[in-house]
Amino acid sequence: MIRAVLVAAVLLGAWELYCRLSGIDPLVLPAPHQVVAALWNDRSLLASDLLSTAGEVAAGLVAALLFALLAAISIHLSRTMRRSLYPVLVASQTLPIPVVASLLVVWLGYDLGPKVAIIALVAFFPVVVATLGALAKTDPELPRLVRALGAGRARTFWLVEAPAAIPGAFDGLRIAVVLSVIGAVFAEQAGSESGLGHTIQQALPQLLMSRAYAAVIVLSALALALFGLIGLIERLLVPWARVQGSQL
């Protein structure tokens, strides 16, 4: 953590130095101190933006998680689903998100709906892939044992395979968190009245570069906080898997 702060400080120092020495126009690249000033001056705007973006991301992630688990379970349990649903899910990831976002706004309007849909669209896929990976890597002797002890297909799944897959779902969620924040920006830029992505989009034509950069920083902070939160939940929920390598 201290090291991360140090790295950030060095990068910011270099950035500040570059702005001063090169005499670059702050309308092109604002210096860090100007961004910090914007963070402070625009704090009430940024705070309310953060709130609405965080709300969208949270709703989108929950939707993504529910859909991804459902999809992973059905693909794992059914060969038909693997053959039919999985290719469709893969194909869904090739959709150009900004275009889909605009179309959804036309269809569903400026509410939460299209934003949650876009965020879920970009966030569900890593959860599906990682959960399926964990399911496939379950020691095959474990379900075999439980079946020999008298459990049917469904009970075997809940007793053995589902718990074994939880760490995989968390691995996927970690990727999903980062993607969901990017998804939120696209969704807001397609049509929104608030949010960090909306503010970035508004700031650029007004040449409020420092504000745009400030909004990006708040966005990164949101992603970091969510990433940390996922790690925390994982440690509470999956204490048997010592997942140190994958946490902040």
Binding site: E141, A148, L149
Partner: protein, 247 residues
Amino acid sequence: MPNTPVASAVTLSDVVLTRRVNRSQQIEVLDSVTLSAAEGSTVAIVGPSGCGKSTLLEVACGMLKPTSGTVTAQPAAMMAQRDLLLPWATALDNAALALRAAGLSRDDARDQAADWFPKLGIAGFENVRPAQLSGGMRQRVAFARTLLAGRPVIALDEPFAALDALSRIEARAWLSDALAAGGRTALLVTHDVEEAVLLADRIIVLSPRPAKVVESLSVEIAKPRRRSDPQVVAMRQSILELLGAGQ
């Protein structure tokens, strides 16, 4: 004995089993194995490494279908060579897994499983996960799970393989107690001939793969048996000779 025929709990006749080891290769693992285990008895199975002992147990438990031949057996529960404990579940929940698999609720399964912990000398470790248990404790938990399956036959595949010599002696004690108390039929695979002589009523000696029954010996030595008992020593020696390791 010959005058009091006992019902047989497990009978294999002329069981042949071939297994596919890779895409192009099949190997014969069991070659016309015929054996039977009398109800309530302990039958030890010894044989060279890789000869097909684990496979034989899986066939007897109905987990593998023989290529040919017939298997008639009462319902059996298997304790595999690896303990196969669920890493996320506590010792108690692992022992209770047999009951959960059979459809009991979590609480009922835990209640019944808890009774076995003091009997197997692992009281106090109910809420510990497998990673924090010693090898011997893990095997006791796996054994409890096998007993809790409530099947008349239990098949134990090298239950003490992971233990050092001292723990094995202790483990034999709780195993023979549990077997004596349960009235169950036990199939015990072991690579320790002495263990077979100490615990079993009958010893089946297998040939190298493909496994055939080389000899089926009835062990007529009063229990509890001691390692130093001349009869035990003599029987151990003759079995080692059958296995080609006499000297």
